[in-house]
């Protein structure tokens, strides 16, 4: 039970990641596959942010006023805990994963748009966005292109 409480976030991250993977593998629809990839990507973000969380911490925006009084914010924390893990009397969550995921989200939407643009062009060329129909159409086209023996 303690394990489930302390590792609950990882279990959820894995479930979300596998839901994204399942959509990518099982769906033949190119747009649904892009949705699956987007879900897979957000689960990676959740994993990084889970690692960066510090119990009783606050967002990594340094508080000058409170560093003077030496008072911890966000939760009534044990002073020994604050002294050991805080910076200037305030406990912060780790900001580095936040930086990585912040830019990854914006780059993610840019790459999502490129993927969808490819899907739109595929629809215009083949008249469908279902992978198996595209496969059949291109096989027919390849057979027609071959010279008769």
């Amino acid at each position: 039970m303690t394990w489930l409480a302390s590792h609950f976030n990882y279990v959820v991250v894995v479930i979300l990641m596998m839901a994204g993977l399942f959509i990518v593998f099982s769906s033949g629809n190119l747009i649904k596959r892009m949705i699956g990839l987007a879900m897979f990507q957000t689960s990676t973000g959740l994993f990084y942010i889970t690692l960066s969380k510090v119990s009783g911490g606050t967002a990594a925006i340094t508080l000058k006023a409170d560093s003077e009084t030496g008072r911890a914010l966000a939760a009534p924390l044990d002073p020994a805990y604050v002294a050991q893990f805080g910076v200037d009397g305030v406990v912060y969550s780790n900001p580095l994963p936040h930086v990585l995921i912040l830019t990854a989200i914006v780059v993610g939407v840019a790459t999502l748009a490129v993927g969808l643009a490819i899907a739109v062009r595929v629809r215009e060329a083949y008249g469908t966005v279902e992978a198996d129909e595209i496969d059949a159409l291109s096989r027919v086209a390849a057979e027609q292109a071959e010279p008769a023996p």
Partner: protein
Amino acid sequence: MSTPILDASFALNVALLLMLVAIAFAVVRTRSLLAAILLMSVYSLASAAWLMVADAADVAFTEAVVGAGVSTIVLLGAILLARGETERVNWKLMIVPGVLAAVVGGVLIYAASGLPNYGDPASPANSHVGRAYLEATYRDIGAPNVVTAVLASYRGFDTLGETVVIFAACIGVALMLGFGSRATLAPPTEIPNDQHVVLRVVAKLLIPLIVLFAFYVQFHGDLGAGGGFQAGVIMAVAIILHALVFGLRATMAAVPVSLARSVAALGVVVYAGVGIVCIINGGGFLDYDYLFSPRVEAMIPANLLGDPNHVHHWGQHFGILFIEIGVLLTVSATIVTMFYGFAGRTIETIEAERRT
């Protein structure tokens, strides 16, 4: 190994994550692409709420504007163009991916036992390098928001790379879908003035406020949550809202297609230009301490704010400000160009289909 503190924050964490799992299963189950896209929008909003619980204020901000706003618009544009409202079901093809996902998931959950507890302050990730940045940032940079300081100053070169990636995606979409400029050549679609009166009035009030908020987010990026990425997306959302309510032609008259694509390139030039100015003044690339030449630096009093103990880093302050403006320009113009590409093509394809 400390056990997690079972407080209100932890309960909220569990509740929001369960909500995410429920939405994810709904996305897997639904056959309607429109439903899947709207569920992903809700999913993004719920994950933004969770990010706020996990203290990632800047990331929550980005996820809320990008995930719930822009991705939804791009996906909706794509299903309109691809006519893929519903996907077909083939249950036989579900077995292998299902087994695969279950096995990989089982292995990953087993492997998760080796990871530190949720909220462990002594975990390797939180105790060494993360703590070092928290201790050094205010002294080195003078910006209270550590996330912006790391993003724009310590790792400014990385962020330049990411800005270039976004610009490259802009070029990619424009190459595949065009700039949408043919939408201005099509005969105007008559929208009667009495249609959507409430939407028009509300949008007219909201758009200036959204733009104003974008500027607030932009210029307070180093003080609180926010920055160029978030502000750029908010700015683009204001333009997209205008296009949705008043039509694409009206928006293209206000923000021309050529302006959008040149601003996307200009943002990268501004960002890289700041780096080159630093080189000219004797520092490294993007070393903001050398942004001003020594003569200019001498003209600025060190304790301008009246606090003799606080040494202000003017180079860092303005360096972050300038590169964030570059990021704002590229991100907003890229999203607008992409939107024009998708939306402009819609009119083109409808025209083409009508003609044949």
